[in-house]
């Protein structure tokens, strides 16, 4: 069946089987392999992307359910070659080791900061509680998101300048 959706601002039309999961559509049909695929059981959260502006676990959504909607993946975070403050934060604070959980963590972080620009450590930990990191012990992920919170204004000014 034919679906048309917006992915990172670009309109895309493709023919897909109804049983195709959104995570595989994004990775295998669109080549956007930034979104990872881990547990397959809605637990790990590495497949998190935005559907109509809301973070969802894309291993538990059908591609056809995204027909007529908008999707934003980790590839859609940077703007005009500038890293999003969240991406910069993960770089500055060493928020990743193997990087497997990172795309999902960053998509959740961006959404959190859009709705709560100055989150406490507890709020950050709650926001990412549906996502598993096997490397960092979460400490530096929390710091990376705090870094982004503290530098979001500055980053916007730079882009504006």
């Amino acid at each position: 069946m034919q679906i048309t959706l917006t992915v990172n601002g670009e309109q895309i039309t493709r023919d897909v089987e109804p049983r195709l999961l959104l995570v595989h559509f994004v990775r295998d049909h669109l080549g956007l392999t930034g979104t990872h695929w881990g547990c397959d059981t809605s637990n790990c959260g590495t497949c998190v992307l935005w559907l109509d502006g809301t973070p969802v676990k894309s291993c538990t959504v059908l591609a056809v359910m995204a027909d007529g909607r908008s999707v934003r993946t980790v590839e859609g975070l940077e703007r005009d070659g500038e890293l999003d403050p969240v991406q910069q934060g993960f770089f500055e604070e060493h928020g990743l080791q193997c990087g497997f959980c990172t795309p999902g963590m960053m998509m959740t972080a961006r959404h959190l900061l859009d709705h709560n620009p100055d989150p406490s450590e507890a709020e950050i930990r709650e926001a990412i509680s549906g996502q598993i990191c096997r490397c960092t012990g979460y400490e530096n992920i929390v710091k990376a998101i705090r870094w982004a919170a503290e530098h979001s204004g500055a980053a916007e000014e730079e882009v504006g300048a």
Binding site: P18, R19, D40, N43, T60, L62, T108, G130
Partner: protein, 291 residues
């Protein structure tokens, strides 16, 4: 890689359209709400529907609103919406309490209230919370609309009274004066299903309990409730002894089984202890003693 078996996909824009599609596609068709129970089952081939009717576009099924002396929760309201609702926070703390510990924030963005009730998992948190509140489920089908008390909604594990071409449209919770409520859950780790959970709703007038609702989940309690503990509480002035007795009655009203979440005797112990904790909080909330 887990892949569901092939199926036909249809999207409905209205409840009537969804009912017509379910009728046309036959008993092997299923409604697709958030998909967070159905799709995992399809990936494991535990469910193999021939067709799915997606109701995510049906606007009339959404929303949480106050109407008269009822809070009406649309079947497609997401867990996150219920958690964020000011009306719910004001009147039914038990629902906000429960939502805070159902799955994780990302799953809560997607899973729906109707889907949770219709999945009828014996460990579902909201089934216990709504049982405590004595909510009503509104069901619409080809023959029109009917209302079913939530305690008559589930007929067994994974089974409800919803017919093949019927749709749950709304859950209604009556607001009655003097109510206090709370939800207590023990889980193995953040985001997990309950080992055991108990919700309590208490209505008080002039210092004594006029009505009580106790919802229990994951412990095999019939209709997710404990009528014996409720009867014990009604008409009494709350004391520590009364709360202890109610906890004991609730633990006797359940029929837990041992599984990967814990042994049966541990769950029975939890049912009693969580009943006591939920009751203490619910009762003190009726006195306006909690912030």
């Amino acid at each position: 890689m887990q892949v569901p078996a092939a199926f036909q996909y249809e999207r409905a824009k209205t409840v009537d359209e969804a009912i017509a599609l379910l009728e046309r596609l036959g008993p092997e068709a299923r409604l697709l709400a958030g998909g967070h129970s159905l799709l995992p089952m399809m990936k494991l081939r535990l469910a193999q529907p021939e067709a799915l009717v997606d109701v995510n576009d049906v606007a009339e099924l959404g929303g949480v609103r106050l109407e008269g002396n009822e809070v009406r929760i649309g079947a497609m309201a997401r867990h996150a919406e219920l958690l964020a609702s000011a009306v719910v926070a004001e009147h039914f703390r038990i629902l906000a309490d429960a939502e805070r510990v159902i799955a994780d924030p990302i799953v809560r963005n997607r899973g729906t209230i109707g889907g949770s009730l219709c999945q009828a998992d014996p460990s579902e948190d909201l089934s216990a919370a709504f049982a405590a509140l004595k909510a009503t489920v509104v069901i619409r089908g080809p023959e029109g609309e009917r209302q079913v008390p939530v305690r008559e909604f589930h007929v067994g594990p994974y089974q409800t009274v919803v017919g093949p071409a019927e749709i749950v449209t709304e859950v209604r919770v009556p607001i009655r004066p003097g109510c206090g409520s709370a939800y207590e859950k023990v889980e193995r780790r953040v985001g997990d299903w309950p080992v055991t959970a108990v919700g309590a709703a208490i209505w008080m007038e002039g210092g004594s309990i006029t009505d009580a609702g106790l919802g229990l989940t994951a412990v095999g309690a019939e209709h997710f409730s404990s009528p014996r503990a409720e009867d014990l509480l009604k008409g009494k002035i709350p004391t520590d002894e009364l709360i202890d007795e109610a906890g004991k009655a609730a633990s006797e009203d359940c029929n837990p089984t041992s599984d990967q979440r814990g042994p049966a005797d541990y769950k029975r112990h939890l049912a009693g202890e969580l009943t006591r904790r939920a009751l203490r909080r619910a009762i003190s909330a009726t006195r306006g003693q909690e912030a």
